[in-house]
């Protein structure tokens, strides 16, 4: 499995490679097309947040393969002005687009793990992960592949 991927986000145009890498990594890991779409969606939203609220930042995507499961961990970090009220930002129905449930609150629902750390004037780091349990057949295939 390849190492982590880093994408610098400095403008709207950088959302494209971030999405593409997320989707590509997810599909290579073995996520379904639907899950890969949701992961790309989540990365889109956090990249958009970086561009809109901080101006620039970085997204790091790390594939993880364990015996019982595989997953993709995404970390989106910036050094912007920070989030004044994280609870409000994550509350369902609260979003930059008039309370539609998009933005960070929407991303949290798409991913299996989600964490936001933010300090005023220091920046924000969003860490999220999506996991899939590997079934027995998949584990056997992986075992056979490693033994070759």
């Amino acid at each position: 499995m390849s190492d982590e991927v880093r994408v610098a986000v400095e403008s709207d145009e950088d959302m494209l490679p971030a999405r593409a890498e997320a989707r590509s990594l997810a599909l290579r890991l073995g996520f379904s097309r639907t899950d890969a779409t949701l992961i790309a969606t989540a990365v889109s939203e956090v990249a958009r947040n970086i561009v809109v609220h901080a101006g620039c930042g970085e997204i790091t995507m790390s594939p993880v393969v364990e015996d019982g499961r595989y997953g993709l961990i995404v970390k989106a970090a910036d050094e912007g002005s920070g989030i004044r009220d994280i609870d409000a930002a994550l509350e369902h129905g609260y979003a930059s687009r008039g309370g539609l449930g998009l933005g960070l609150s929407g991303v949290r629902r798409l991913m299996d793990e989600f964490d936001v750390q933010s300090q005023i004037d220091c920046g924000t780091t969003v860490t999220m992960a999506k996991w899939r349990v590997r079934d027995e057949l998949e584990r056997l295939r992986e075992k056979r592949r490693r033994s070759v």
């Binding site: 097309r33 790309a40 969606t41 889109s44 369902h92 687009r97 449930g101 998009l102 929407g106 629902r109």
Partner: protein, 269 residues
């Protein structure tokens, strides 16, 4: 984007571009269209219908089975992107529904507590009515704040502990009794909020039991939230329960005095 016509036109162009080139830029466009559609409240049925119509037209122009298969698969990827914002919103609806149900349950329980406290405070059995009031308050406070423990302590040494028996029950009880004595000397009406990470309890909040005339009866404490930490909503709920309990104690005291005028009114001063 404010009109269905504009959306249909943009969707058709973006889908055609993706069927031709199949690149990530077109998929991002699909996602942006989905976000706009959510914002403009365009029906999922409209999107499904439009997509199917465009796909049928595209496939009918396919020159081979392989080409038609490729276009069908690509169109599916495009549709997934457009619908992913709806997925976020749909999951949010479930969260909102669960939160509403939870708040409704809380409101029902509070109304029930109010009725029970009222009945208990006017019970004929004076000896047991204070304990009954405190027991009701402790059980409801524990359930409503999802706490492992609730201790209600009033002057004259009456204490009611609500919670499942555990091996460390004795330690937890001693801890909460200590906290209740500290809170009892406080005349501040605001609840105390503290999280003690270095002991057996995982979070603790308390509120004074103070009657409208300023009489201090004691305090109510909950500790060890089942999941996460106590929230501002839990604080507000505990204060509300404390106020209801203090009112019930005052009512019980007045009623007891009315039955036995020679007896001093509770609490003893």
């Amino acid at each position: 984007m404010t009109s269905d016509t504009a959306f249909r036109s943009a969707y058709a162009s973006a889908l055609a571009a993706y069927l031709l080139d199949g690149d990530e830029a077109a998929l991002q466009k699909a996602y942006d269209l989905g976000r706009d559609a959510v914002s403009d409240e365009i029906s999922l049925l409209e999107i499904g219908s439009l997509h199917h119509e465009l796909l049928a037209n595209a496939v009918s122009r396919g020159t081979s089975a392989a080409e038609r298969h490729r276009m069908t698969r690509a169109a599916g990827e495009f549709l997934l992107e457009t619908l992913s914002p709806y997925e976020m919103v749909a999951r949010g609806f479930v969260d909102a529904r669960d939160a509403t149900l939870f708040e409704r349950k809380r409101a029902v329980m509070l109304r029930q507590l109010s009725t029970l406290l009222s009945d208990a405070s006017l019970a004929a059995d004076a000896a047991g009515q204070y304990e009954e009031v405190l027991r009701l308050a402790a059980d409801h406070a524990r359930e409503l704040t999802s706490a492992e423990w609730c201790l209600v302590a009033i002057r004259d040494g009456i204490e009611i502990l609500s919670g499942d028996a555990k091996d460390d029950a004795a330690d937890a009880r001693r801890h909460l009794v200590t906290l209740s004595r500290e809170a009892a000397v406080r005349s501040d009406r605001r609840p105390a909020v503290a999280a003690h990470a270095d002991d057996s309890s995982c979070g603790w909040i308390a509120a004074p039991l103070t009657a409208l005339d300023g009489t201090e009866y004691g305090s109510i404490h909950v500790a060890d939230k089942a999941a996460g930490e106590f929230t501002e909503a839990d604080n507000a709920l505990l204060v509300h329960i404390a106020e209801m309990t203090a009112a019930a104690l005052e009512r019980a005291s007045i009623y007891e005095h009315a039955r036995s005028p020679t007896k001093k009114r509770y609490p003893s001063r």
